[in-house]
Amino acid sequence: MILIGLLIVGFVLGQVQTVARNNGRPDFVSRAMQAVVMPPARVMQWGLGVADDFWVGVRDSHSLRLENERLRALADSAKRYQENIDRLTARLESMSREVGYVPPPPRTKVFARVVGLFRFQNRATLDRGSESGIKPQMPVVAANGLFGVVDTVSKGSCQVLLITSPSIRVAAKVLSAKEVPAIARGETSVRLALDMLESDEIHTGDFVVTSGYSTTTPAGIPIGTVVEARDDPRFGTKRVFVLPNVQIGEVHEVFVLK
């Protein structure tokens, strides 16, 4: 009797979760669980981060010093480069005004930390939520490229569907001899598959970026590199697979694009 009761409760909880998720918010069970588990998880996360930093500092002190010098030199050249960009941006703005072009408002970035990562479920938890203006469907970007898409949002945290999830579709384009539009979707925890109409020009090593055809994800965010493009005789097309730029397990900090 207990078993049957629990199975029914489990099924009902799943239905409640689906309804809540369709409304872009977490269900009450997930909210309660996260409220209970998040405080000790944050303490553990902080402790691990401190320990990581300490041991990396001890192990790599020499190379870190060299890296620091290299970055200082890079920062100097970036400063000069930025002056050039500012000058060109000012010129572009004056030209835009002359022709009456009104550019779309720029997206703002919300910095967030990955406080939970669930590879099997293709999900991550970030420490920012609706308080920071985060909404469902916003793209989440790591240093190397697209990390995922916001799925559900609560007050102080949000859940992200990772780019490797079969549940999300990302408007993409392959940068081969010409730009080929495609839809990227997760296939396994380490690679994506591309759905596309024309694939003759795709080759291994081609870069894949977001196309900007979607209203939520801007163009040009790196997604990955084509690692396999083979003929599919059943449909007369190519099967194209992509290795994501982002190494999911290595990501600890991201930006949500508002």
């Binding site: 199975l7 909880l13 997930s30 209970v36 999900r123 396994t188 380490v190």
Partner: protein
């Protein structure tokens, strides 16, 4: 007090292990094998109790995992409940429970739970899922040994 002690002990265990799952789930990966601390705890505890308690432990593990990951609550709750229910029958066998048996039960229970998750919604590359599940089951089996010893100690449970 002695009647509610096991409940308090399990509440504390599940709380800490859920935080570990949230924090270490991916950091503790070895290759493609990722540990499932909550399922391991559920299965280890299930071995010590009769099936009616074991399924409750499995349900708790599944709902906690689904809740913190925001993942498929039905799938996780049902698969964990059934896996732990099965593991609960070990306590009915007339044998002295040794850590190695517990590890075997955790290995088999992890495989069973993950296969149950796969059946209603098969992943696109099933062989990768099965491979990762197999490695994950071995990882959980290895974790089961210290978890069993610690759990037995904290419950002051004597198996003989």
């Amino acid at each position: 007090m002695s009647r509610i002690r096991p409940y308090l002990v399990f509440a504390a265990w599940f709380w800490i292990v859920a935080a570990l799952q949230q924090t270490l789930g991916t950091r503790a990966m070895i290759g493609s094998a990722s540990p499932d601390f909550l399922l391991t705890l559920g299965l280890v505890a299930a071995v010590m109790y009769p099936p009616r308690i074991a399924c409750l432990l499995g349900f708790t593990a599944g709902v906690l995992h689904g809740g913190i990951a925001g993942a498929d609550l039905s799938g996780l709750a049902i698969s964990r409940t059934l896996a732990c229910f099965g593991a609960g029958f070990v306590s009915r066998l007339d044998l002295e429970i040794k850590p190695v048996y517990v590890a075997l039960v955790v290995f088999a229970g992890t495989l069973a739970a993950q296969v149950m998750m796969m059946v209603p919604a098969p992943p696109p590359a099933a062989w990768v899922y099965v491979r990762d599940t197999l490695f994950g089951a071995m990882y959980n089996a290895a974790l089961a040994l210290p978890v069993y010893l610690l759990l037995r100690r904290s419950l002051r449970h004597r198996m003989n």
